[in-house]
Amino acid sequence: MKRILTFLILFIRPAFADEASTLFKQGSSFYEAGQYAEAVAAYEQILAKGLENWQVYYNLGNAYFKQRQLGRAVLNYEKARALNPDNEDIRFNLDLANLSVIDRIPVPPRSPVVVWLDAAVHAISLQLAAILTAALWVVLFSILIVRALSSRGVMERLGRRLLWPSLAAWALVAIVFGWQLYEKSNYRHGIVLAPRVVVTSAPAEDATEVFTLHEGVRVQLETVSGNYQRIRLADGKVGWMPHEALGQI
C-alpha cells in the first residue's frame, strides 16, 4: 500500500507540475506569437527539469520546424510519437517534415505477413500493452484464487468459464508487450541533426567515406566506439558517424 502511494505521488507531484505547466503555457503563447526561438527555450526548460509528455515533444518539434531546424523537428516528432503512436497530428507533421528531408532511402519491400505482424504488434502503445499485461495478469490470478477457495458454487463455475479466455487474452498482450520491449531495448533509432554528415567505413577520421547523410534522416543506432556511432540505414547500408551529429529518439 505504501508503494502504491509513493507511486501516485511520483505521478502527481503538484509543485513540479505547476512549474512545468507554466512553462508549457509560456511556450505555447510564444509559439502563437511567432517567437519560435523563445518557445523552444520554454519547452526545453521543461525537459531540463526531467519532465516530459508527448505534447512537449510535439510542440517542440513544431517550433523547431518553424525555425527550419529540420533534424531537431523530426527528432522531437519521433519522441512524441514514441509516447503516443496513435496521434494523428504527430504523424501528419512528421510526414510533412520528412518530405523536406533530402535523402530518400529506399525501404526494401517486406512481405505482407511481416507488414501485418508489425502493424498488429504496434497497434497499441508500449504503455497500454504494459497496463493490459499487468491487469490481465491480476485478473487471471484472481480467477485462480477464487477457484482455489471455492470448490463448488457460482463463483467456481464463473471462474472455470473465464479462465481460458483470460489466459489467451493475457498471452496475446504479453507477447505484444514483450515484443515491443525487446524492440525498444535492442533497436534504438536516431535522427541526423547536422546539416550534412559524412559516414565513414570505420570509426576514425581518416577512414574511407562511404556515403553522406543530411539533416533529418532516421538511422538505426548500433554500437559506439569512442566518439563514433555505428549506424544502419533502412536499406541495410552501414557506416560510422560522429556521435554528436545524432540525436537519439
Binding site: R3, I4, G50, L149
Partner: protein
C-alpha cells in the same frame, strides 16, 4: 537537251524547259545534281546570264532513291528567268564544288525569239477558244504586282503580301501555276472571295482592271535578307475584235471578226524583305516570342467552389500579331491546385492588312484545400513593333473561395513513396494546447513499482491460497492428522483441569485428570484408542516410534504414579500434587518434542 558531266559520284546536269522562248517569257533552267553525295554539295554556281535573261527566283527539290542498297540522291534547282534579249544564247557550264573538286555540266543553248514569232502550234482561227501561247506582246497589258505593306520588319512581325493581276485585256481564266514557297516564314492566307473582286486603276494613262488573287501574311521566323519568290500564273487572255468591242487599247490582231484565246504565263517580280532581330535591350525574362499588340484578361467560371471540384480559369489574349504562335501563359498558382493542360480556342480575323483576333486558354483547376485563394495575375510579355519596345500586360488578380468538400483531403498518401507525394505547400498542424500531466523522463508504467506489484503479488496470493487450501484438505481428510494436531491442545486442557483440582483437596480426581492428559496425548499422537491401553503395550508402541528410552521411562513412571495414587488409600498432600504436575508437564514436553 541534257548535258552530262560525270566525275566521281557526282553528276551535274543542266536543262532548260524550252529551247525557244519568246521575249519577256519565263523559262526555267534546271540543274540536277545527283550521286550519293549530292545532298552535301553546295549551291551550284550559275554562269553569267545577265545579258539575255533576268533572274526571277529559285526553288529546290530533292529526291532520294535506294536501289539495291545503294542510295542515290538527286537535288534539283529550278532557276526561273525572264528572257530579255532576242538571239541564240549559250548558257555556260553550271559548276558545283565538292571537297575542293569542281563538277560542271555541259553548256546548254537557248533561243530567244520575238514575241509572236514563236510558232509552237498552228494558229487556231475561227470560233475556237483553245488557248495558244502565240500572240501579241501583252507585257504592258498584263502583269502581276506583289505588294508588301513594308519591307523592313522585326522577326515575327507580319508582312502582308498581296498579289494583284493588272490587266487591260480580258482574262477569261487564270490558274496559279507556281506558288512561292515562303521558306523562313510562317504564312497565313487571307481568305479571298472565290471570284476576285476587280477594281480599276489608271497607270500612265492606261486603265487597268485590277484583281487581288492572293493575299498572305508572312511572319518571318529568322533574321536576315529574305527574297520572296515570284508567284506565277497562267492566264487565258481573250483578244477580241476591236470593231465588235471598243477596247481601250489597239488590238494587234488582224482578224476582224473572231476572238482568240491566248495563254500567257506571268510572274511577279521577287520582293526583298529585310528582317531585323528583336532587340535584346529590355527583353523581359518571361518573353516567349509574342510580337504585336495584345491585351489579356482572365475570368473564373465560378467564384466559390468546394475542394476537389473543378473550376475553369479562362485567360483570353486579344490583339493583333502572331496570335497563332502564342503559347499558353504560365500560371503562377498556389501549389494546392491541380491543373490540367489548357483547352485552346482561337478565332482570327484578317482585315486591312492586319491579322488580329483572340486566343482563349481554358484551364481546369481542382483546388485541394479549402480557403480563400488568390490567383495571381497572369502576365504576357510581348514586343510592340510600332514603338519598338517590350511591353507586359497582366490580368487583374482573382480570388476563389474554396469550401471544404465532402471528400477528405489526404496530403500524404500512406502507400506513396516520397517522390510520388506532391508537396502541397500545407503547413504543419498547430501545437497541442490542452493542459496535461507531466511525468519523469524515461518513466514508464512497465518499470514502475505498481507494475512489479501487480505482477508479483498475485503469485504470492495464489501461493498462500493454495497452502491454506492444502491444510484444510488435510484436516478434513485425515483423522490421524487431526488427532495428532489436537494432541497437545487436549493434553494441555486436561492438565489445566488437574491443576485446578489441586486446591480442592480431591487427590483422586486430580490424578485421574492427569492420567487422562498423559494418556490422551499418546492416544491422539499415535491415533490409537486410549481406553484399552496397557502400560507395556504403550511402551512398546513408543519404542517403535524410536522414542528415546529415558523419555519413555519418565512418561511411564508418571502414568504408574497416577495409577498408584488413584487406588491408594488416603489423600495426597498439596505438596505432592504440585511436584507431580510439574513432573507430568516435563514428561509431556519431552514427549511432544520427539513425537
Amino acid at each position: 537537251m541534257p548535258m552530262m558531266a560525270t566525275a566521281a559520284d557526282i553528276t551535274v546536269k543542266a536543262t532548260v524547259d524550252q529551247q525557244r522562248v519568246a521575249l519577256q517569257e519565263q523559262f526555267t533552267l534546271s540543274v540536277e545534281i545527283s550521286g550519293s553525295d549530292a545532298n552535301r554539295v553546295g549551291d551550284p554556281k550559275l554562269p553569267s546570264m545577265e545579258s539575255f535573261a533576268a533572274y526571277a527566283g529559285v526553288s529546290t527539290s530533292q529526291s532520294i532513291q535506294i536501289i539495291n542498297g545503294r542510295m542515290s540522291v538527286s537535288r534539283t534547282y529550278n532557276y526561273a528567268f525572264i528572257a530579255t534579249m532576242v538571239g541564240k544564247h549559250e548558257i555556260g557550264p553550271v559548276t558545283v564544288e565538292y571537297k575542293g573538286e569542281k563538277f560542271s555540266s555541259q553548256p546548254v543553248t537557248i533561243e530567244i525569239v520575238q514575241q509572236g514569232t514563236q510558232p509552237s502550234q498552228p494558229q487556231q482561227r475561227g470560233q475556237t477558244t483553245t488557248p495558244t501561247t502565240e500572240g501579241a506582246d501583252l507585257s504592258g497589258a498584263l502583269f502581276i504586282k506583289a505588294q508588301v505593306d513594308r519591307r523592313r520588319v522585326f522577326q515575327n512581325e507580319p508582312v502582308v503580301v498581296s498579289y494583284k493581276i493588272y490587266t487591260s485585256v480580258t482574262v477569261s481564266s487564270y490558274g496559279i501555276s507556281q506558288l512561292p514557297n515562303f521558306a523562313g516564314f510562317w504564312a497565313e492566307d487571307f481568305p479571298l472571295p472565290q471570284q476576285p473582286r476587280t477594281t480599276q486603276e489608271v497607270i500612265d494613262g492606261q486603265r487597268f482592271l485590277v484583281a487581288e488573287i492572293k493575299k498572305v501574311a508572312l511572319f518571318p521566323q529568322s533574321v536576315g535578307k529574305k527574297i520572296l519568290e515570284p508567284l506565277k500564273i497562267e492566264c487565258d487572255v481573250q483578244v477580241q475584235n476591236r470593231r465588235r468591242r471598243n477596247d481601250i487599247f489597239d488590238s494587234f490582231f488582224d482578224d476582224p471578226f473572231m476572238s482568240r484565246t491566248v495563254r500567257r504565263a506571268v510572274a511577279s517580280s521577287p520582293v526583298e524583305i529585310e528582317v531585323e532581330s528583336l532587340p535584346d535591350v529590355g527583353k523581359p525574362a518571361d518573353f516567349s516570342g509574342a510580337v504585336g499588340n495584345y491585351e489579356i484578361s482572365a475570368t473564373l467560371d465560378k467564384s466559390s467552389v468546394k475542394t476537389n471540384e473543378a473550376v475553369t480559369l479562362k485567360v483570353v489574349i486579344r490583339g493583333a500579331g502572331n496570335l497563332r504562335m502564342l503559347s499558353a501563359p504560365k500560371l503562377d498558382l498556389p501549389p494546392d491546385f491541380e491543373t490540367y493542360d489548357p483547352k485552346i480556342d482561337q478565332s482570327i480575323k484578317y482585315d486591312n492588312n492586319r491579322v488580329s483576333g483572340s486566343k482563349a486558354f481554358e484551364y481546369v483547376l481542382v483546388p485541394r484545400s479549402p480557403g480563400d485563394i488568390e490567383i495571381k495575375p497572369v502576365r504576357l510579355s510581348f514586343f510592340e513593333p510600332r514603338s519598338g519596345t517590350y511591353k507586359t500586360v497582366s490580368t487583374s488578380p482573382l480570388t476563389l473561395s474554396v469550401a471544404k468538400g465532402s471528400e477528405e483531403f489526404v496530403a500524404v498518401g500512406g502507400g506513396l513513396s516520397k517522390e510520388d507525394v506532391r508537396l502541397i505547400g500545407q503547413d504543419i498542424r498547430f501545437i497541442a494546447t490542452a493542459p496535461l500531466p507531466f511525468h519523469r523522463i524515461g518513466e514508464a508504467f512497465h518499470n514502475s513499482p505498481i507494475f512489479y506489484a501487480m505482477v508479483i503479488s498475485p503469485v504470492f496470493a495464489l501461493g498462500l491460497t493454495l497452502l491454506y487450501r492444502r491444510h484444510q484438505e488435510k484436516l478434513s481428510a485425515n483423522v490421524a492428522y487431526a488427532r495428532q494436531r489436537q494432541a497437545g491442545r487436549v493434553a494441555g486442557k486436561h492438565l489445566r483441569t488437574a491443576r485446578a483440582l489441586i486446591g480442592k483437596q480431591d487427590s483422586k480426581a486430580f490424578y485421574a485428570e492427569a492420567q487422562r492428559a498423559l494418556m490422551s496425548f499418546i492416544g491422539n499422537k499415535l491415533n490409537i484408542a486410549e481406553a484399552g491401553l496397557v502400560m507395556d503395550e504403550l511402551a512398546a508402541k513408543l519404542e517403535e516410534r524410536n522414542v528415546p528410552k529415558d523419555v519413555i521411562v519418565d512418561y511411564v513412571q508418571c502414568l504408574q504414579t497416577c495409577d498408584l495414587k488413584r487406588f491408594a488409600p488416603g489423600e495426597a498432600t498439596t505438596q505432592e500434587m504440585h511436584e507431580f504436575i510439574e513432573q507430568a508437564g516435563r514428561a509431556l514436553e519431552k514427549m511432544e518434542r520427539v513425537l
